[in-house]
Each structure stands twice: as structure tokens, then as C-alpha cells.
């Protein structure tokens, strides 16, 4: 490899990682590996129901309901942070406040919300593991959640930490729209689980 091409590929590490990851996910989705992995996970989901979280979640409906309440409140916190930051990036709201200030503050709220969402989500998943395993919408939620977390910490945050004036406006708007879309999908598929397969 010449020095120039080595330097070029070296400076496009993030792009290469993203494209490789997308291609790997596509290959996984359209191969028998997806079904094999799903079948192998069945034992794990059965085990989840036998953990203390699973037993508490299944036995005491009130505990499950309280944890779910915190899950929804944290989701509202996370969703609020996403909407405020992305709407500011689109130029829809708070145009008189510097975008940097809003992005930094909402990111802290987002991280706090995400931690509570994940902690309460794991508890709830243990309680209904036998049900959610069979729901396609649960797997779409996991895909959206993993995509959202990867997107925020690997792409959105590193990009928006830079000088916003140096970023092409179309890129900022694309990031804002995809961010809202992915987190709306996380929230919608999450609520859908509650209405599915009962």
C-alpha cells in the first residue's frame, strides 16, 4: 500500500467502521446465522426469568409497575433531551440560545435518562423474558436501541463536539432527523411490546 492511500484510509477510520458494520448487519440479517443465534438465545431468555429480577417481576405486579413507571419517566427524560437538542439543530426552537450550550446540557440529561432506561429495562425484560423472546417488535426495539446508542456516542457526539460552523448544514440536519427517527422508534416499539402477544 502506498503512503498516500495508507494515510487516506487511516483518516477515514470512522467511515470505514460504519460501512463495515452496516454491511455485517445486512449479511447477518439475510443469512441463516440470524435464526441460529435467535434459537440459541432461547436458553438465555429462560434463564432470565429464573433470576431474582425475573422472579420479582413475575410475582409482584406492583414492583413491576413501579419499575415500569421509572422506565417511562426516564424515557420521557431521554426523549425530551433528544427532541430539544435535535429541534435546536434543525433551527425550530431556542434559536436565541447558542446550540453548543443546549447540546452540552441535553447530553447530560440524555446520559442520565439512558442509564435509568437500561437499568429498569433489564429488570422488566427479566420479568417477561418468555413473552418478549417471541415478539419480532422486541428485536426491532433492540436493533433501534443499539443503533441509537452507537449513533449517539460514536457519530453524533464526536461530530457535534466540533465547531458547528465548520460542519455542513445538511449533515447537521441529517443527523438531527435520523436521531429523532431512531429514538421515536425505540419509544414506539417499546410501547408496542406492552400491547403485543398478550
Amino acid at each position: 500500500m502506498s503512503t498516500t492511500s495508507a494515510t487516506t484510509s487511516g483518516s477515514y477510520t470512522k467511515t470505514i467502521t460504519v460501512v463495515t458494520l452496516v454491511l455485517l448487519i445486512l449479511a447477518f440479517s439475510f443469512s441463516s446465522l440470524r435464526r441460529d443465534t435467535w434459537l440459541q438465545l432461547y436458553e438465555f431468555f429462560l434463564w432470565m426469568e429464573t433470576t431474582p429480577f425475573g422472579v420479582i417481576g413475575k410475582t409482584w405486579g406492583a414492583v413491576f409497575a413501579i419499575v415500569e413507571a421509572f422506565h417511562l419517566l426516564a424515557m420521557a427524560l431521554l426523549g425530551g433531551a433528544v427532541v430539544v437538542a435535535d429541534a435546536r439543530l434543525m433551527g425550530w426552537i431556542f434559536a436565541d440560545i447558542p446550540a453548543r450550550e443546549i447540546l452540552d446540557k441535553t447530553h447530560k440529561v440524555f446520559v442520565a435518562g439512558l442509564i435509568v432506561v437500561l437499568a429498569t429495562g433489564i429488570f422488566m425484560a427479566c420479568g417477561v423474558a418468555g413473552k418478549i423472546y417471541w415478539l419480532p417488535v422486541f428485536w426491532y426495539k433492540m436493533l433501534a436501541l443499539a443503533t441509537g446508542i452507537f449513533f449517539v456516542f460514536f457519530i453524533r457526539r464526536p461530530l457535534l463536539r466540533r465547531d458547528l460552523n465548520e460542519i455542513r448544514p445538511i449533515v447537521v440536519k441529517l443527523v438531527a432527523i435520523s436521531s429523532m427517527l431512531v429514538w421515536v422508534t425505540v419509544a414506539a416499539t417499546g410501547r408496542w411490546i406492552g400491547f403485543a402477544g398478550s
Binding site: 483518516s11 433501534a144 457519530i155 461530530l159 460542519i167
Partner: protein, 49 residues
């Protein structure tokens, strides 16, 4: 490569990666929700004609 060039290359990289992943997300989830809405319309048609 000067420090300025390195910063510019890094900026290009993160912007290209952002465009790639954002486009993938938008295309995938728009198709996903379009299919879901279509299946609801089919169900409503079957139920109410």
C-alpha cells in the same frame, strides 16, 4: 501532514460517517414504518372492508 490538514481530514471522516449512518437509519426506519402502516391498513380493510 500538518496539524490543520489532520483536523480537516478527521472532520471529513466524521462528516462522511455521519452521512452514511444517517442515510442508512432514515432509509431503514422509513421502510420499517411504511410496512407497519401498510399492514395496519390491510387489517382494517379485512375487518371493515
Amino acid at each position: 501532514m500538518s496539524e490543520e490538514d489532520k483536523n480537516a481530514a478527521k472532520m471529513d471522516d466524521v462528516q462522511t460517517a455521519a452521512v452514511a449512518i444517517s442515510t442508512t437509519i432514515i432509509v431503514f426506519f422509513v421502510i420499517y414504518w411504511a410496512i407497519q402502516i401498510d399492514s395496519v391498513r390491510d387489517l382494517l380493510n379485512m375487518a371493515y372492508g
